[in-house]
Amino acid sequence: MTTSGTGLFYDGLTSDRHEVAVEVDGDTLRVNAPDGATLAQWRFADIEPLATPTGVLRVGLARDRAAARLEIRDQALATAVLARAKPADRTGLTDRRTRVRVVVLSFAAIASLVGGAIWGVPLLADRIAPQLPIAMEMRLGAAIDMQIRQMLDTSSAGKPFECGNGDDAHALAARAAFAKLVGTLEQSAGLPLALRALVVRRSEVNAITLPGGRIYVFEGLIAKANSVDELAGVLGHEIGHVAHRDGTKAVLESAGLSLLFGMLLGDFTGGGAVVIAARTVLSNAYTRTAETAADEFGAQLMYKVGGDPHALGAILVRVSGTKGVAPHFLLDHPEAQERADLMNRIPQPSPLTALLTPPEWQAIKTICSGG
């Protein structure tokens, strides 16, 4: 059956308008000039209807670099052509099947990227961090140290940020005692780099470790510690972070998360909230794992030097007070009781070795009261 009618033809070589006779013949669309010459002969299998405002059917060859176009305003002819050509939405909307496919493939992509974030990123960070040269970690530590100091060194009211910096006998004794405690632990830990542990003037009950072996023990923690072993337990935990190179790992993990959430996923208006939520949940999962590993390391270290492996758990439970109210996935540390239970599985050495003499401990307790 042959349907014919008129149309407008652009040959893709010039912008001239050609008024043409169009013939639908079986699986072929023929475009003829008024003098009968065939301008184009297209197979319906190769033809795609293209986006036009309603009323005009525009067809072209799929993947035609020259962009030849036939426009049909004749409704009967348009219907005949559409009946044979591939279906497409003429308003230019991506068709339903493509949409569904995009959504399904996107879900697959999201699933694999989230999987990559949960397992792949920490795994890669674990593998890469130990391979990086110590010198690089030292530089990273120095860079972070500058920022951290600017952030933390706020409330010392004229006194230096570091405690026990003075030249008086008291400061010297305190420094020596602290260095002795750190030295005992460091010797048994077998670290790839030298520690630089300091007590600093911050009232929070906390201690932090930066890449490159920098440990800052806050004044607030010294005040709350009831025994040498509690302070040593905290130090052991922080030394665990140094041994595991957790600072470097955290940087790598954060870069990995930025790539997955922010660059590959979440780039749409309002997507910032999704990105922040995903990053929070995932990076908390990473740090909870790292904290547990550091607890384990610290407790083992305490056992090795003859200290009390349970002391860290004791101070954690004591200072965390009433149970936290935040849900598990919003915590960057596991809960104190959980951590204490885990460390309590490690036996206490008997007899316990005194890590410092009572005067030495007293000197550390008052390390921040001097200049």
Partner: protein, 437 residues
Amino acid sequence: MTFAEHTDAAAYEAPPGIPAPSPSPVRLCFVGDRRAYWRLMVRGALLQAITLGIYRFWLFTDMRRFLWASTEVEGDTLEYTGTAVELLLGFLMAIGILIPIYALFFLASLEFGLISRLSGVVAFVVLAWFGQYAAYRARRYRLTRTVFRGLRFHQTGSPVRYALRAMLWWIAIGLTLGLAYPWMVANLERYKMRNTFYGDLGGRFTGAGWRLFARGLLIWLLVLGPIAAGIVAVAQVLDWPVIGRALSNPSSPAAWIAVAGSEQNKVAFGLLAGAFSWAVIIGIILYPAYQAIVMRWWLGGLWLGKAAAASDLRMRRYYGAYLRYLFYVLLFSIAFAIVIGGAIGLGVVALRGQIDFSVRSIVRDGAVAAAVIVAYVIYILGVSTIYQVVVKMRLWQVALESMQITNLAALDHVRATAATSSAVGEGLADALGTGGI
């Protein structure tokens, strides 16, 4: 075989439904159906949300197809032939290019000394340059995907040199407090249009910088003038002796408290804050006027061969679009608040007595957090969709309908030359946030 040899368009009468070529100016038409665009955008927003943004390549392609097809020039509409898969691949390639660059800057920031301190500045400059580079290449991609009467547009010129030129202009703008802006736009448009072709027909841009300067000067004076005046006034009012004492002894808190306590200084800071708030408020109010001035000036400078564009764009039509946007956002916000309020109310009633809120629950807290995020995303996406339709599409339409082309017959016998280009520029522009429709 060339068809042109044995066909002669001039030998035929104009077919029915196509107006005969007229020597008088031809006004462009927007033939899109607003409701169809709403459907496209709402569906696109939802699909973007559930695919965490991956659908955007398909949405952008749909938007362009719609807008191009809605642009009618004397009975012929434009056609956008780009595909979403091209955009996706371009984006992935762009990520591949950017990751090593980001890694390099990270490593550089770890070095001590000058490199470390400079790496932030260098990163900013390099990425800004990349943004301009990407914008130029993205323009080439869009032009080569634009078909009119069976011929493609294309763009020559070097994106590297364009980006360099744009960067130098931005420095000039910084130095002149924005006064150089009109000359920058004129210069960059000249470069872009000089390298723009429809088939073998070259474009050019004749808009003069000083003309835009003259039209925009009032806006500049109204926005930045008070800041300049404010700075001068503040310099007069400030209590210099007190400030001098504080500067000579910067670690003394008392000296700084004296600076903050001085009545003169309070007045000065008030003046400065007032000047800045004025600039922000007036800037927002005058933004549509500024957009309309630039658009009208820009359209009036466009040439393609001997065909020239002119525009009689009215500012009030731009303001109309923005006012309607504010109104729709207000309606949407009210509806959103009612739905959220109702959902919370229903939830509280339905779950009363079943949940003990004094006991912590991971599942409940997680559900609440997820619900808050979902609600936020829906609201922001809703507002952005309203903006896309009520402002973006409307401005496109208004600008288009303001355009008249004289000597349109210059486009009648153009020959094809163009080849297509890759979408890496689009991908870079997307990754760097410098993309556009």
